[in-house]
Symmetry: C2
Subunit: 305 residues, 2 copies
């Protein structure tokens, strides 16, 4: 990606060095974290700025990967200490996983700072980090057109009040099906979405992993399946990739409406399906706009009636 | 339904009196079984004939339900003894269930016999029963245009050889995702479908319950989501309802091709979504063509990009 010009999309989230074990392979110190996946995915569609933190152990090679995507790194802080580390192991189904260890390291005292050049960005994705940090970002943006927040079960369990504050201030909340049920204490996803929309956001996206995603908004319901891949090498970051590609596509097309959102979700599903074909950002780094366009057309043909 | 004329679709399967416990309610001796659900669903689209067996305890009220759907009952045998009985209990998610008891009764010595008037039927659905019985039906039909077989994990486990014989003689195999994996020893559904298609059938439909269904055939892949219902009262028979509505819709539209199959699967999903809103055939018995058409249009709008 060779993109220059103003940052259109700002994304905040975690940067981690992941150790991941699947039934087939174990890999150590992989470049990961929600903002890595989301920025890489968004970069195919627009100029994206990263807000995150790494330690002094973060390698030049990793920075070089970000640069290959053309990601603006003015919001990336490098501070004394170790980079956040996560390790996990996937079950045989390559869907469920257990976290083996989490070392917050420099992430423990992370305070996101938006560079001046990001403050006018029209699209903001609050990647999956503590709601308190998401609020700090919200306090620093001027008046973006569209703010999306991602979250996870951890924050619903330990930081519900702050999370509700975030939810009240964003245009779209994105979370997975079990998290939607946990947050709302409802079972049917339409009821979950109605409850969440009553908390503030006009739009709710419920992610269902290998079963796709659902968009709930003022214009009704849109259901997009996942692209059925032949191989899943590592599903880590698929949800972040989906979110990043979605907001990047929205920004590229310059407006938020039902049709634009449907196309954006479809492209989110497509880029996420590429991402899981390799560890870390290994597949995304080689991905071309032609790969994305080809698979988007294929997925569209798979759902046409 | 007031349908007369030649039987277009013949369906064979089980007829049971079901005792079903959900987290909310327990109901006894409900009219059920694969052929009950499938024939009721198909009857909205075409003239359907039932092949099955009941005992002398089968009530006139149950027969009356079949007649309300306009189902042709020439292939329904009533013999000395008790009707097949099944009881099961659903988990809190209303998806997973445990079988509490199965009493084969008259089903133990069931030998399906096709009445003369059914033998020219152009569409045949071999509902979920022992593969040996499915083969008996295949031996009695002349040259239908399209034969669909449904199956379940039980037959894959205890009657694999006979099941493979069925699979080699049908145009479409329908089964759920875990069954497709069990049958093929593959994980990814595209690989499962490729393996099954190499066994004979041109088409494979993999059902994914509340996540919809996938059609694999010579013209590629079609994915239809389930219609997201607001209430699930009893999911029993949803797969049979889906199969019955699908084959009925195909027969109504008079030809099997990619476009007709896509529309048929969509209508299968729609009628199945109505069916789970009540126990037994209680919702289907009140369903109108307008209900079906309305929800089909709604589902189509939910997947349009």
């Amino acid at each position: 990606m060779e993109r220059t010009g103003d940052v259109q999309v700002v994304i905040v989230g975690s940067i981690g060095l992941d150790t991941i074990e699947t039934p087939f392979e174990k890999r150590e110190s992989l470049l990961g974290g929600s903002v890595s996946y989301a920025c890489a995915a968004a970069s195919f569609f627009t100029r994206v700025g990263m807000v995150g933190v790494v330690g002094t152990d973060f390698e030049d090679d990793h920075m070089a990967v970000y640069r290959r995507f053309g990601i603006d790194l003015d919001g990336l802080q490098q501070v004394e200490g170790h980079t956040f580390r996560w390790s996990g192991v996937y079950d045989a189904d390559m869907i469920n996983r257990q976290t083996l260890s989490t070392e917050l390291n420099v992430f423990e005292h992370f305070m996101p700072v938006m560079p001046e050049s990001y403050r006018g960005a029209r699209y903001v994705l609050l990647g999956n980090i503590a709601p308190e940090l998401q609020l700090h970002v919200l306090d620093q943006v001027e008046s973006p057109d569209f703010i999306v927040a991602d979250t996870m079960d951890l924050w619903i369990n330990i930081a519900r009040e702050k999370l509700l504050e975030v939810i009240g201030r964003v245009d779209m909340l994105m979370l997975n099906d079990s998290e939607a049920r946990l947050l709302t204490d409802q079972y049917h996803l339409r009821a979950c979405a109605d409850t969440i929309r009553a908390m503030g956001p006009r739009y709710v996206v419920i992610k269902k992993g290998e079963h796709g995603a659902m968009l709930f908004g003022p214009d009704g319901l849109f259901i997009v399946p996942a692209y059925p891949v032949q191989t899943v090498t590592d599903p880590t970051g698929a949800g972040d990739t989906f979110a990043g590609a979605m907001i990047g596509h929205l920004a590229q097309n310059g407006g938020v409406n039902d049709g634009a959102l449907r196309a954006a979700l479809l492209h989110g599903a497509v880029v996420a399906s590429h991402g899981v074909e390799a560890f870390s950002l290994d597949r995304l780094v080689k991905l071309t706009p032609e790969d994305i366009g080809g698979r988007a057309a294929e997925l569209q043909a798979m759902i046409a009636v």
